[in-house]
């Protein structure tokens, strides 16, 4: 019970006791709840904090990754569209910093693939910079063939692994 209701009740009690002999003409109106509602935790849309890595991944819905042909590191039109989405996000959340990870499939030797992954990460970074994302907010790293997402030894798996993934840092 809130304070005003108590006060009003007390007041009415006082009134009753004070004027015991004289019955009030009418009962005071019921106390109206004019207090500020206690802030209860209404469920906000559950999910990650905006501008965070998890949020970026969620919003991108797959557009955080671009793909390459064998031995190639050029940005095709599909890649460009994905990178535009990424740039849009990064320009909206100006505090966000990102690392672009470059990857290669398993059909190359280890060190060459590390260099190839760096090439791919760098290509993605350059494109984001050309779209206005400040270079200072972007870094690159290569994982070569060390971090495949698809483990089979076939064209489909290899195509999934030749990629650059943009990761927003928390």
């Amino acid at each position: 019970m809130n304070r005003i209701a108590i006060a009003l009740t007390a007041a009415s009690a006082l009134a009753l006791s004070a004027c015991a002999k004289k019955a009030p003409e009418s009962l005071p109106p019921d106390p109206v709840d004019t207090s500020t509602p206690t802030p209860t935790v209404t469920p906000t849309p559950s999910g990650p904090i905006e501008g965070s890595g998890a949020h970026f991944r969620q919003v991108m819905a797959g557009q955080d990754t671009i793909f390459f042909d064998t031995d190639k590191y050029d940005i095709d039109s599909q890649d460009a569209a994905a990178l535009r989405s990424q740039a849009q996000y990064l320009l909206q959340y100006t505090q966000a910093r990102a690392t672009i990870e470059g990857h290669a499939d398993e059909r190359g030797t280890r060190e060459y693939n590390l260099a190839l992954g760096e090439r791919r990460a760098n290509a993605a970074k350059n494109y984001l910079v050309s779209l206005g994302v400040p270079a200072a907010r972007l870094s690159t790293i290569s994982y070569g063939k060390e971090r495949p997402v698809a483990t089979a030894s076939n064209e489909s798996a290899w195509a999934q692994n030749r990629r650059a993934v943009t990761v927003v840092l928390n």
Binding site: Y73, T99, E106, G108, T109, R110, E111, Y112, L114, A115, L116, E118, R119, N122, A123, N126, T140, I141, S142, E146, R147, P148, V149, A150, T151, A152, S153
Partner: protein, 453 residues
């Protein structure tokens, strides 16, 4: 510390009745190396008997819980395991042979061994010294000629007992083959666990036969492509600690790790010069990778290559004057040679496919490499790119490293498919005796160090 000494013991002739002719049983599969492919058409087949070593008195030693008597047997087993897997001898080991007495070691019962069909005989002893160290003697005899061919002796700390056995195997191998030794050496490599899409990779070291295995890093950050310094005091490797690609030098004695270069760019593929004074490495920046050198003690890097392509890796010739490396400046990954100062860069691979991971033999006569023609095959070529010979033929055999004497090539083999498991294998320069080196878990990126002094 080991000390060579000259052995002189009085010869004791013991009359032994000639035993019935007994064929030596076939060589047994033991220890760290397992045979999967053996070429039966060996050009030479020396019957080599390696009975148990002996001890003068069974004494306690930290090297073996049962004392020097049991240690003597273990020593001979290490020698026997070393001397398998080549086309020169058919050794028979101590578990199939009678045990000589201590006095026999310096005065063999040749008649007995002739009767068993042995042509060569290795005998040895171990003695515990007052200071706790072990004295190990090793003798090689020609049974037909009743003659001693070679002898050697070493004083070792108990913890190094296996090294004395490897020195003995090296002595026998060198004397009989004319080749340089290689058994007393160590390998740095990457130990692998976990599934293909979440692999844990740790730096590890082991003896040339897989013994004395030790993990160096804990796997929290990926470690790749290690290289022992020529004096075995350090290991250079690529680490992803801190989510960056940086080259660390691990000091084996102190356990300390130091950065080779301070750069915000990705650095990788470390290599040591033969004199241990220079580190060769690759740096990737702006989509371009080039090769640099830096003094091993730190200092100003010097750029060797400068093309708008991927120039990566590299291996010094044993005289330190040239470097072979890989570059895709021509459009595909090929092998190039340059002087150690970066001048005279010229392509040497013109045989089709791609040339990768070139590694100069310690003998200087050959370069081993990964030949990519769809699958990855270990191959060798001359330093001018001629005489290509393929040593293996699997789906992916990658990154050859040479035994210290330049006669064996070690590499890692990856299984096709979702397991993608890697293991370390060796093959002779002749392409024969392809065999797997047993490791505790998966293994890749082997780097074979030189013979220990």
């Amino acid at each position: 510390m080991t000390v060579r000494f000259a052995l002189l013991a009085s010869a004791l002739l013991i009359a032994v009745p000639a035993s019935a002719q007994v064929a030596l049983p076939p060589a047994e599969d033991e220890g760290g190396l397992s045979v999967t492919v053996t070429d039966e058409n060996a050009w030479q087949d020396l019957q080599l008997a390696i009975p148990s070593f002996a001890t003068d008195r069974n004494q306690p030693t930290p090297a073996n819980a049962q004392g020097t008597g049991a240690l003597a047997l273990e020593l001979s087993r290490v020698v026997y395991n070393d001397l398998q897997f080549n086309s020169l001898f058919r050794p028979t080991g101590p578990d199939s042979l009678p045990r000589p007495a201590y006095a026999d070691i310096t005065s063999p019962q040749f008649g007995t061994w002739r009767g068993r069909g042995a042509e060569m005989l290795v005998q040895g002893f171990v003695r515990a010294q007052d200071d706790g160290r072990l004295m190990v003697g090793c003798y090689l005899y020609d049974v037909a000629l009743n003659d001693e061919l070679a002898r050697g002796g070493w004083v070792v700390q108990p913890a190094d007992w296996r090294r004395a056995a490897h020195k003995c195997a090296d002595l026998v191998y060198s004397r009989l083959s004319g080749e340089s030794p290689f058994f007393d050496s160590k390998i740095a490599y990457i130990a692998e666990t976990g599934p293909k899409d979440n692999r844990v990779k740790r730096l590890a070291i082991m003896d040339s036969d897989g013994a004395n295995h030790r993990f160096i890093t804990n796997g929290q950050s990926t470690a790749l492509t290690p290289r022992y310094s020529p004096d075995y005091s350090k290991i250079a490797y690529l680490s992803y600690v801190g989510e960056r690609m940086r080259i660390y030098v691990y000091d084996v004695g102190s356990g300390r790790q130091t950065l080779v270069t301070e750069s915000s760019n990705a650095t990788m593929a470390p290599r040591w010069s033969p004199d241990g004074r220079t580190i060769l490495y690759s740096m990737a920046t702006g989509g371009n990778t080039d090769i640099y050198t830096v003094p091993a003690t730190g200092g100003t890097p010097r750029r060797l290559t400068d093309t708008p392509g991927i120039d990566v890796g590299g291996s010094f010739s044993p005289d330190g004057r040239r470097i072979v490396f890989e570059s895709d400046r021509s459009g595909t990954q090929q092998c190039y040679v340059m002087d150690a100062d970066g001048s005279n860069q010229r392509r040497i691979s013109f045989f089709g496919g791609r040339c990768a991971t070139p590694e100069w033999s310690p003998r200087g006569d050959l370069i081993a490499f990964t030949h990519i023609t769809g699958n990855f095959r270990i191959a060798t070529m001359t330093p001018s790119g001629g005489g290509v010979r393929h040593l293996t033929n699997s789906w992916q055999d990658e990154a050859p490293t040479w035994s210290p004497n330049g006669r064996i090539v070690q590499f890692f083999r990856t299984a096709q498919g979702s397991s993608g498991e890697s293991s370390i294998w060796q093959v002779d320069l002749t392409g024969r005796n392809e065999r797997r080196l047993r490791t505790p878990v998966g293994a890749s990126d082997p780097a074979w160090g030189p013979v220990l002094p």
